[in-house]
């Protein structure tokens, strides 16, 4: 499938800092693409260059195979990480304001239904809850019926329920064959929403692929957690992939049955054994060498 947006050898310098250091990527139409990375990795700079908000120092950005032009602003939708709205306007008036800025728009009633804004239409935008505000900002990002939508940390600060409601909304938008570029601090969010992710560190992409591909590339299928005191003396002799995790040790394996048999035969106490799957958070720490952003 031809990419809806692609970047080649993208570079962005600030005085004394290389924020983006020669990244290239292509995003196919209709997927949700996640851009992850620790603070200062260059993901916000990258997404702002993709949005056309910032100009790169070097490299090219192509939208549908062409360089970005005035048409681009008509065809993309953007939800910024931090944004304010015109004060003293209601939700409906704010939508009408943004509707007036585009040539082609979705009908406002359709957006109201899609983003569940019916109950708050006449509410002053300063009096919205975090979840309501994010739904409105998403509606504004969708108001020009864009094919490509940028969501920059859209659920930061939301409670778990509001976050999951927002995920449902993003899935609904994606089901309309929209392409979404998402940055997030929440690895479970990236796992739930993204078809493909790229992890950035120090201005470069250090890992890219589908979540399943990346997890299988970097880890075994599952991880066994055993308290250190039950295991520590026996494990070095068994040749297993063992990682320190505080009071526990973690053993990564793709042959669960065989590993368990090996541990039992060597007298490791498995009374407090826990088994879990590897997550994107493990991957994030593994490839960036840092705690999650």
């Amino acid at each position: 499938m031809s990419p809806i947006i692609s970047v080649h050898n993208l570079v962005k310098h600030y005085p004394g800092v290389v924020a983006v250091d020669g990244i290239s990527l292509s995003i196919p139409q209709g997927i949700c693409f996640g851009l992850l990375g620790p603070n200062g990795a260059g993901k916000t700079t990258t997404i702002e260059i993709l949005e056309g908000i910032q100009l790169p120092t070097g490299g090219t950005v192509l939208y549908k195979g062409e360089v970005l032009d005035a048409r681009y602003r008509e065809e993309v939708g953007i939800q910024f990480q931090h944004t304010a709205l015109q004060e003293f306007l209601t939700v409906r008036e704010t939508m009408e304001l943004f509707e007036s800025l585009y040539h082609h728009t979705l009908p406002i009633p359709e957006l109201i239904e899609l983003c569940s804004l019916g109950d708050i239409l006449n509410r002053d935008t300063r009096k919205l809850s975090g979840g309501q505000r994010q739904r409105l900002l998403l509606a504004l990002a969708l108001i020009n019926d864009p094919e490509l939508i940028f969501l920059d940390e859209p659920t930061t600060g939301l409670d778990p329920q509001a976050r999951r409601n927002f995920w449902d909304l993003v899935k609904l938008v994606k089901s309309r064959n929209k392409t979404i570029v998402l940055t997030t601090h929440y690895m479970e969010e990236a796992y739930a929403l993204c078809d493909e992710i790229a992890i950035m560190d120090k201005g470069r992409i250090v890992s890219q692929g589908t979540p399943a591909q990346l997890l299988s590339q970097h880890f075994g299928d599952v991880v066994l957690q055993i308290p250190r005191i039950d295991s520590v003396s026996k494990l070095p002799e068994l040749g297993l992939s063992v990682v320190d995790a505080g009071d526990m040790v973690e053993i990564s394996t793709s042959r669960l049955h065989h590993t368990l048999q090996q541990l039992i035969e060597n007298g490791v106490n498995l009374d407090r054994l826990r088994i879990r799957a590897w997550t994107l958070e493990d991957l994030f720490i593994n490839v960036t060498g840092k705690q999650k952003p």
Binding site: I53, V76, A84, L85, L97, F98, S100, L101, L140
Partner: protein, 335 residues
């Protein structure tokens, strides 16, 4: 046009629904006019003002004793008619012409003129030929009204536009608009027109309200007055837009705005006339749009000046508006 109207409407709503700001914008100039009218309702001046045509040096030769008298202020005028008009409107208590046949003018209905005439007779005898003019007194309230309204417009235009755009930039609203097809010129023009409509509405309401209670002296055309004040407001808003074109710090913007407003407040003739001050002060005052707006509105209201008579001020205000708006649009940054 659709984009412009949408941004204009949104900004108008934002302003009108901010009740506290709206009430303050209306109440402040009203209270200021009423307060000053009350304060200065008694004697207008503490000293006598005498205009001199023909030069102060010639005056010192032909009226030595008079010039040495205390509590008299002598102001030199180049044009006789301008000075006579000031006597008519009680802005001068007396006019003395020392070129040719020495003459003095007083207003027949001016008590100060009557007193000065006695002083002239007492100090210089009968060597000056008496001339009398008639004319309605311009009260101090009539004199300072254009200054008060002009100053209120200045603060509203500069701070109302400058601070609002800096706030938009700081809180990310401008960045959000940058992501839309809205152009900088549409945005800035909508801000200009919105503030212009609102400040003109407020000024008309304040003027009308005060006029009901004070009955201002209005000799000229309301249409010319509207044209001059509209151009003056446009010019001040354009300066506000220029200051806010790149600034992201409210403190910095506040500093620049204060640096501009204080000299304008002191030197544009809003509070006191610059007649009799150093020439360089009067020349510096010509740089400020408020000087031109106040001078033109005073001429229209007090002297019934026509459009052609205030055209020099109109041209200056129009030119400044175009230059500042173009510069603002040129250097404007969304972020």
């Amino acid at each position: 046009m659709k984009k412009f109207l949408a941004v204009l409407h949104a900004r108008n709503m934002e302003f009108l629904r901010d009740r506290s700001a709206l009430v303050w914008n209306l109440a402040m100039p009203f209270l200021l006019v009423m307060g000053l009218a009350f304060t200065f309702s008694g004697s207008n001046k503490e000293i006598y003002k005498i205009g001199v045509v023909g030069g102060l040096e010639a005056m010192s030769r032909s009226a030595t004793v008079l010039q040495a008298t205390q509590h008299l202020k002598f102001i030199e005028y180049a044009e006789l008619q301008v000075a006579i008009d000031k006597v008519k409107h009680h802005q001068l208590d007396m006019l003395i012409v020392v070129s040719g046949t020495p003459k003095y003018w007083i207003n027949s209905s001016s008590p100060n003129g009557y007193m000065l005439e006695r002083i002239v007779w007492g100090t210089e005898g009968q060597k000056f030929q008496r001339q009398a003019v008639e004319g309605k007194e311009i009260r101090y309230v009539d004199w300072f009204l254009p200054g008060i309204l002009g100053m209120n417009m200045m603060f509203s235009c500069l701070f109302g536009v400058g601070f609002v755009i800096v706030r938009y930039r700081k809180n990310g609203f401008l960045k959000r608009l940058k992501a839309t097809p809205l152009g900088a010129f549409h945005f800035l023009f909508a801000q200009l027109i919105s503030r212009l409509l609102l400040i003109m509405l407020i000024t008309i309401v304040v003027y009308s309200g005060c006029n009901l209670l004070i009955d201002f002296n209005m000799q000229g055309s309301y249409w010319v007055l509207l044209l001059v004040t509209t151009l003056g407001a446009m010019c001040l808003i354009s300066i506000g837009l220029l200051i806010a074109a790149r600034t992201a710090s409210e403190e910095f913007a506040g500093g620049i705005l204060n640096t501009l407003t204080w000299p304008m407040m002191l030197l544009s003739g809003a509070w006191f006339s610059l007649e009799g001050t150093h020439a360089w002060v009067q020349q510096l005052a010509q740089v400020f749009p408020l000087t031109h707006m106040i001078a033109a509105t005073r001429a229209i209201m007090s002297e019934g000046a026509t459009l052609s008579q205030v055209m020099p001020h109109v041209w200056v205000l129009a030119l400044m508006s175009v230059v500042f708006l173009a510069l603002g649009a040129l250097v404007f940054k969304w972020e």
